[in-house]
């Protein structure tokens, strides 16, 4: 089920009523309802893949118990069962065919030709990268004794499958989400109101920005060979906003929906395009994933505590793995690699930990000239890396970049669906300006004292949704494919 579907529009209020009005007195039943709702939400897309979620839940529940009771060596063995199972799921459903194709390419390079390779050609289960990482983090935390395993299977199943964040995150940690599921929840007006506002803001980002930019981006990336350099830069620039609005919009709706059910999820985006360096960008972009890799991969590898060479190796490992996590394509690996290359100089100059706290223009209305230049450079670098992320192949990305830097003179660009292009520049300018205004709190997009101003903003946001909605556009979320 998509958040931006009519089914969800019916599903959400019905779930809300059942959750708070019918089952609010019995925590176990409320949690069971969460599981049922989550399975319904997921099964609406393809019920067959529910078995994978159930299996992942069952295995990690069991492993959690075993690890807790086991001694050191056996503890490790059980942990490997969890790692093997979850990574195995990803390996089979997401990466198997990629490895086979890569092997065939390598063999072809060495002069051996494989004519009939054995491939699975299976459909990628939506959200598999998210829920496997979520269950894996549980086993890892239990194994580190950072968390006591739960005996309540229903609560654990609710933690794994909690529908607002099941298919595209934020990737939650058991230490933060599980206690909320195990405790009796009370409805809070403030929390509910915040949730409703976040949902509205998420819908605006998804429908008015991400979806409306999608046909332009698709057109430019497909027909890049017939467009001029400025148009190609515009394509990359628009994709940067499309993917940001799409994914952060999803996260906002997820966080907002969870709030309606009395549950707090972690923030996933903190205005990443206002970052002053690539290091800061990664503290603000897809936070739940980057912190996952930091806590469960980078730090266990030694992090930055060892010598520089090892740290640089670790930096490359997490960026490459993070890129690969996004999809079984070399483009994502290269994308991760470029980010590692952008990050390493910051580490070597000791500036990677600058801007750990606070935001741009922390104590002023406008950024300083220095901050403005820093943001512009970071944004441009990130935008260019998106070309690899969006391209179908490395060759496609390189050809796109080659044409972009060939500096063909500007030729007019017409929207593939006939809309005025100026509308999009106005929309993005307003969006960027507004993001700058609200930069200090990503969870309160309408935090203004004046009730009238807030109301006016709700109306404007809804009007923008109405103005930029187009039923011919594919409305699925980009991160579903990961």
């Amino acid at each position: 089920m998509l958040f931006n579907s009519i089914e969800f529009l019916i599903f959400l209020p019905l779930s809300f009523v059942l959750y708070w009005f019918l089952l609010n007195r019995n925590l176990k039943l409320q949690n069971l309802l969460l599981v049922v709702l989550s399975y319904l939400f997921y099964g609406w897309w393809d019920w067959r893949f529910l078995s994978l979620i159930f299996l992942s839940t069952f295995v990690d529940y069991l492993v959690g118990q075993k690890i807790h009771r086991a001694q050191d060596r056996e503890r490790k063995r059980w942990l490997w069962v969890s790692i093997g199972f979850n990574i195995g799921l990803l390996g089979v459903f997401k990466y198997f065919d990629f490895f086979v194709v890569s092997l065939i390419d390598a063999l072809a390079f060495a002069g051996y030709e494989v004519t009939q390779p054995w491939m699975l050609h299976v459909l990628l289960p939506v959200g598999i990268s998210f829920y496997t990482f979520q269950t894996l983090s549980y086993s890892l935390d239990v194994s580190r004794k950072a968390l006591a395993p739960t005996k309540d299977f229903i609560a654990f199943a609710a933690y794994v499958s909690f529908f607002p964040q099941l298919v595209a995150g934020p990737i939650e940690r058991a230490a933060s989400l599980l206690p909320q599921i195990l405790q009796k929840r009370r409805f809070s007006y403030q929390q509910g109101a915040q949730g409703a506002k976040l949902i509205l803001w998420g819908f605006f980002k998804k429908v008015a920005i991400a979806d409306s930019l999608a046909p332009i981006v698709d057109d430019i990336f497909v027909n890049y060979h017939s467009y001029s350099s400025p148009t190609l830069f515009m394509g990359a620039f628009f994709f940067g906003f499309q993917i940001y609005a799409d994914f952060s919009g999803y996260s906002d709706i997820a966080i907002g929906t969870a709030k309606l059910f009395g549950i707090e999820l972690r923030s996933n985006f903190k205005f990443p395009y206002l970052s002053r360096s690539v290091a800061e960008f990664w503290r603000r972009w897809h936070i739940s994933l980057s912190t996952w890799f930091r806590d469960y991969l980078y730090i266990p590898l030694g992090g930055s505590k060892l010598n520089s060479r090892t740290t640089i190796r670790n930096i490359f490992i997490i960026f490459l793995v993070s890129g690969f996590w996004h999809g079984a394509n070399w483009t994502f690996i290269v994308w991760g690699g470029i980010h590692a290359l952008l990050f390493v100089p910051l580490f070597l100059t000791g500036t990677n930990r600058n801007y750990l706290h606070g935001t741009v223009a922390e104590k002023s209305a406008l950024p300083t000239f220095r901050e403005f230049v820093q943001i512009s450079i970071t944004f441009t670098a990130v935008t260019l890396t998106w070309i690899f992320f969006r391209a179908e192949s490395i060759a496609h990305a390189l050809a796109y970049l080659k044409r972009l830097f060939a500096l063909h003179p500007y030729q007019g660009y017409n929207h593939p669906l006939g809309y005025r292009m100026v509308d999009y520049f106005i929309l993005l300018s307003l969006f960027m300006g507004y993001e700058f205004i609200i930069r200090k709190d990503e969870r309160s997009p309408f935090k203004f004292k004046s009730r009238y101003l807030r109301f006016g903003l709700y109306a404007l946001v809804l009007l923008a949704i109405l103005l930029f909605y187009d039923d011919r556009i594919d409305r699925s979320f980009i991160y579903f494919q990961f």
Binding site: I6, N414, L462, L467, Y469, D471
Partner: protein, 319 residues
């Protein structure tokens, strides 16, 4: 909880009111002048109204219409007389032309090309097929006898789906129903309905899921269908005979069955082909978001008609 539900409901209601106001202020909605079936059984618009037709969102296409006293969108009133030179252009939404201002219509362009010595009457109505068009000429026989030349716009094969005229009372009843009237009064609903935002609700209500949606495709190369269309054409012409010396069919030869065109030639039925000029046009002749003719397309169509008239009805061009 009570406060949350009450406040949410209040905000939703207020926001809907504000959005209704904004949709009205920016005229995002389209106006569809009411339709009716007159005493002679002809489907028309209710006479004497003006308004704006809007296509897509953000006023992607915004044009003024003017329904004349006869019930068609035109820059002029229709007063056919034997003393004046007049051409009747009959067709569906392409001729009705809600996609451009009424004073930039194909008929107006023809008049300019003809030196304004000839009046062009545009009998365009969205949804007209050939049965509608021919029936109109039969119902208002006296008027069309006075007209010097009649051009029917024929969109093959969709305009040949039926072989006899029956007024579409169901459509008129549906459009005049309370539900549709309410929809037209609530401009926000009219707008969201127009841009497809309420389509999922409609589909859900009808129990039709997206994945079951299939586009019916007409195979024009199918012998059976081709024969059927030709038979329908013949039957319509026998029910509502035309004066071949002063009648032509405006069509696109690129989308019309070659056999049908050969049939017209064999029967000495004149046709005006705008397909070739469309094909060779350097600029797109249709709107990007809609397949109706844009201003350039209308120029080409008007020119094609005038070229035809110069060859086939030169008397019309002499002052």
């Amino acid at each position: 909880m009570k406060k949350f539900v009450l406040k949410c409901s209040l905000y939703v209601a207020l926001l809907l009111l504000v959005l209704e106001l904004l949709v009205r202020v920016f005229h995002l909605y389209t106006e569809d002048p009411p339709r009716f079936i007159d005493d002679l059984g002809v489907e028309k618009r209710v006479p004497n109204s003006t308004g704006y037709a809007v296509t897509g969102n953000r006023n992607q296409n915004f044009s003024e219409f003017r329904i004349n006293s006869f019930g068609f969108n035109s820059f002029r009133e229709f007063h056919p007389s034997i003393d004046e030179k007049e051409i009747a252009l009959i067709g569906d939404s392409f001729i009705e032309g809600f996609h451009q201002d009424y004073d930039r219509s194909t008929g107006k362009k023809m008049e300019v090309l003809l030196g304004e010595s000839v009046a062009v009457y545009e009998y365009g109505y969205a949804g007209y097929d050939l049965a509608n068009q021919l029936y109109l000429t039969k119902a208002y026989e006296a008027d069309f006898e006075a007209v010097d030349y009649i051009i029917f716009y024929l969109d093959y094969p969709t305009d040949l789906e039926r072989s006899e005229y029956v007024p579409n009372k169901d459509r008129i009843t549906l459009l005049s129903s309370r539900m549709f009237k309410i929809r037209d009064q609530i401009k926000l609903l009219a707008y969201t309905s127009r841009i497809g935002l309420v389509d999922p609700i409609k589909r859900l209500a009808l129990g039709i899921r997206d994945r079951n949606k299939q586009n019916p495709s007409i195979k024009v190369d199918s012998v059976k269908l081709r024969t059927r269309y030709q038979k329908n054409f013949e039957k319509l012409l026998s029910s509502y005979p035309i004066d071949k010396s002063k009648t032509a069919f405006l069509l696109n030869s690129k989308t019309t069955d070659k056999e049908f065109l050969a049939h017209c030639r064999r029967k000495n039925i004149q046709y005006i082909d705008f397909g070739k000029v469309f094909e060779h046009s350097q600029t797109a002749p249709t709107l990007i978001y809609d397949q109706h003719w844009n201003d350039h397309g209308r120029d080409l169509v008007a020119q094609a008609i005038v070229d035809h008239l110069k060859a086939q009805a030169p008397h019309l061009l002499n002052k």
